[in-house]
C-alpha cells in the first residue's frame, strides 16, 4: 500500500515558468553594466564613487523604509536598478552627498511612499534626478569632459552638446556614439546603451514598441523643426531614457499600443522641451510627464476580449 502522505493543495496551475521579478531586475542591472562601464572608463574614480554611493544608499533606504513600514525586506533587485539608473543620469562632478540625497528621495518618496515596487506612479530614478536638478540646478548642469583615470579633481567643465551652438554637428556623430563628450555619466556612450537595449529586447524583457517609437518620434519631430535628426537622437539622455527608463514596467502602459502612445508622446515632449523650453534636455521630464498619463492610457487602450461583438456590449 502507498504510505499515508500529506498532500499540498493549491489552485491550478501547478507549474511556474520560473522567471521571477528578481531575475528580470538582475538582467536589467547586468545590461546596465555596459553604460556603467563606459562611464567608469570615461570618468574614472569619480564614476565608481557616484555609482556605488547611489546603489548603496538606495538599498539602505529601501531596507530602512521596509522596516519602518513593518514589511519584509526582499532583495528583489529593484533598488539596485534604481540606484544604478540614477547614478547614470548624474553629471560626474556632482558631490557624493547630493547623490545620496537623490537616491534617498528616489526610493523613499517616489517609490515607497506610493506603496513600494509596483505601486509607484513615477519612475524612481527619474524622480530622484528631477528632485536633484531642482534643488541643485547649478551642480546638476555642470558637465566635464571625460577625465579618464586622471586623479586631478579640477576637470574641464563644458556644456552638454545639446546646449552648444555647434556649426558642424555631423562631425560629432562619432564622438556621440562612443561617448567622448561631456554629459551625464551613463548618457554619453550611445552605442553601448543601444547594445544593452537590444539585449533586453532579445531576452523578452522589454518590447521594441516603446524605445523605437520614442526615438523615432524625436528624430522625425526634430527633422520637421529643422534640427539634425541624427544629432538629436544621439545627444543627451535619449538613448538611456528610451531603452532603460521609459520601459520601466511599473510606470509604462501594459499594452503594446499603449507603449506606442507613450513613446510618441514622450518623443514630442522631449523635442518641445529641448527646443522651446528653458532646459537643454527634456528626456527626464518628458518621461515623468508620460508616467503621469500612464494610468489614463491603460484605461483606454485595452485588448478587445475574445469574441467581443458590438451588439453584445453592455
Amino acid at each position: 500500500m502507498t504510505p499515508e502522505k500529506n498532500f499540498m493543495v493549491s489552485t491550478s496551475p501547478h507549474i511556474w515558468k520560473g522567471k521571477s521579478s528578481r531575475s528580470i531586475m538582475n538582467t536589467v542591472a547586468l545590461t546596465l553594466i555596459l553604460p556603467a562601464g563606459a562611464s567608469i572608463y570615461y570618468f574614472g574614480i569619480r564614476a565608481i564613487c557616484i555609482i556605488s554611493a547611489a546603489i548603496l544608499s538606495s538599498i539602505v533606504t529601501e531596507y530602512a523604509i521596509k522596516k519602518l513600514r513593518g514589511r519584509k525586506f526582499v532583495m528583489d533587485g529593484s533598488a539596485l536598478v534604481t540606484g544604478l539608473l540614477l547614478a547614470l543620469t548624474l553629471p560626474p562632478t556632482l558631490p557624493i552627498w547630493m547623490v545620496v540625497i537623490g537616491s534617498v528621495f528616489a526610493i523613499a518618496i517616489v517609490k515607497e511612499a506610493f506603496g513600494g515596487l509596483g505601486y509607484n506612479i513615477f519612475n524612481p530614478a527619474l524622480g530622484g534626478r528631477a528632485f536633484l536638478s531642482i534643488c541643485f540646478a547649478r551642480e546638476m548642469s555642470t558637465w566635464s569632459l571625460p577625465t579618464y583615470f586622471s586623479l586631478s579633481t579640477d576637470a574641464i567643465t563644458t556644456a552638454t552638446p545639446l546646449a552648444m551652438d555647434i556649426a558642424d554637428k555631423t562631425a560629432m556623430y562619432k564622438d556621440l556614439l562612443i561617448g567622448n563628450i561631456g554629459g551625464s555619466m551613463g548618457e554619453t556612450c550611445a552605442i553601448l546603451i543601444i547594445i544593452g537595449g537590444i539585449i533586453l529586447i532579445s531576452v523578452n524583457i522589454i518590447t521594441w514598441h516603446l524605445p523605437i517609437c520614442y526615438i523615432g518620434t524625436v528624430a522625425l519631430f526634430s527633422f520637421i523643426l529643422g534640427e539634425d535628426p541624427v544629432f538629436s537622437v544621439l545627444a543627451g539622455g535619449l538613448m538611456l531614457g528610451a531603452f532603460f527608463m521609459a520601459t520601466d514596467y511599473v510606470t509604462s502602459p501594459i499594452t503594446n499600443w499603449g507603449k506606442v502612445i507613450f513613446g510618441v508622446g514622450a518623443g514630442i515632449m522631449t523635442v518641445v522641451i529641448r527646443l522651446f523650453g528653458g532646459m537643454p534636455e527634456g528626456v527626464c521630464y518628458s518621461i515623468l510627464f508620460m508616467n503621469a498619463l500612464t494610468p489614463l492610457i491603460d484605461r483606454y487602450i485595452k485588448p478587445t476580449p475574445y469574441g467581443f461583438q458590438k451588439e453584445s456590449a453592455k
Partner: protein
Amino acid sequence: MQKVILKKKSATRGIKVPENKLTEHNPIEPLPLPQKVIIPMQQHIGAPCELIVKRGTKVKTGEIIGKAGGFVSAALHATISGEVSGTTKIINHATGHLTDAVIITSDGEDNWVQTEPAGDPENISSQDILNLVSKAGIVGMGGASFPTQVKLMPPEGKNIDTLILNGCECEPYITADHRLMLEQGGKILLGLKLVQKVLNPDSIFIAIEDNKSDAITHLANLICEMGMQDNFKIVPLKSKYPMGGEKTLLTTITGREVPIGGLPLDVGIVVHNVSTVKAIYDAVYEDKPLIERVVTVSGLVNEPKNLLVRFGTPISALIDYCGGMKENANKLILGGPMMGIAHFDLNFPILKGSNSILIEHAAPIIESNCIRCGRCVYACPMHLLPYMYVKYAKTHNYNACQDAYIADCIECGSCSFSCPANIPIVEYIKTAKSELNKKRTRK
C-alpha cells in the same frame, strides 16, 4: 496522403510550457480490476444522477446504477460486477460540494450485463446513435465532462457546418489521447463517422499538435486505408498552450470567434475529444457503456504509465501499480499541471473526466507585488486583462471584474504560469467568479 494532412496552423496567442510527455512511448496497459469502486453520482456538468440501486443489490459490469437526472445529465453504470455495499458522501473535487457515491465490492468475476446488439452499426440511424450515446452515459472526456448527447443535438435553427476532433492534448505530461490515437486510431475514425452521421457537417477537421507527429501520420494512413480522405482532414497545429482549449482551437482552424457568453455551436462548430469519440464507437459498435478510460499516471512515480482504468478505482491503486511515489512527492493533481485540481485524498476515485494523475513536488509559492510587466496580458488566449482581476479581487470589487469580462476567462492558467511575481492569478479569478456567483444566486 498529402491531401489528408492540411497546412500547419498556429494560434495567435499561446505560451510555451515544458511538455514533459514522459509516457508518450508507453503502450496503454489495463489496470487489474480493483476490489472496490466508489462511483460518485455526479461526474458531469448538469443534473446529478438518480440512484437506482440499493445496498445489497447485485450488479453486473455495465449495468445502469444511476439514471440521468435530466436532459443535461449522463447515466452511470457499474464498472465492476459485485454487490453494492453501501453509499457514502464524497467531495466533488471540482465544485467542492458533497455528492452521493455508491460503493461496489467486486465479486472478482467481471460478469458483463447481457444486451441485445443494436443492429448493423454501418446503417444505424442517427436517432439510434443518440439513444445509444445517452444510454452509455458518455460525457466529454477532455476534462469538462459535458454530456455528449447534448452536444450531438444542436437546438433548432443552429446549423452545424464544421466538426472538429480535438486531439491536441496541450497539457504537459498527459499522453492518454496520444496513445489512444496511436493504438485505437481506427476506432476513433469510425466513431467520428458516427458523429458525422448525426451532425452532418460540411467539413471535418482532426486537430493534432505537431509534437505528436507519429499520431498525425498514423491517422493519415488510416484515413487513406479506410477511404475517408474526402471527408476527414488532419490539421497539424504548432504546440502551444492552450491549443486544446475549445475556443482557441476553433478560432485557429476556422478563423471564427465564439461570441462572449456563447457556445461553439453559435458559430456552427462542434468540438469533440478523441476519447469521447472512441467511447461513442464502443457504445455503438460494441454495445459497451462508458465504464473505463485511459489515464496517464506521471510525474514523481517510479514507473510512469498509461493505464486503462475502470471508473471508481481509487487513485492509490493506480499509484501502487506504477511502483509507488518517489520520496519528495507532496502534491497529487487530478488532471494536468496547468488546469488540474490538487487533491489530498489517495482514496479518491477516478472519474469520467480524469485524464491524468500527476504526482508532483511543489514548494510553497511566495507572492510578490505585481510589477505590471504585462506578461499575463499577452499570455491570455481570451485577450483579457488578468492583472486587473487581481487588483479588483484584492479590494473585493467583484463587479468591476464582471465588467472586465471575467466570465470569459477559461482558467487555463497561462497568466499565472507566466507571472514573474508568482501571483496565483487564477486563484483570484476563481474567487471573484465564485463571489459573483453567490451574488447572482442571492438575488
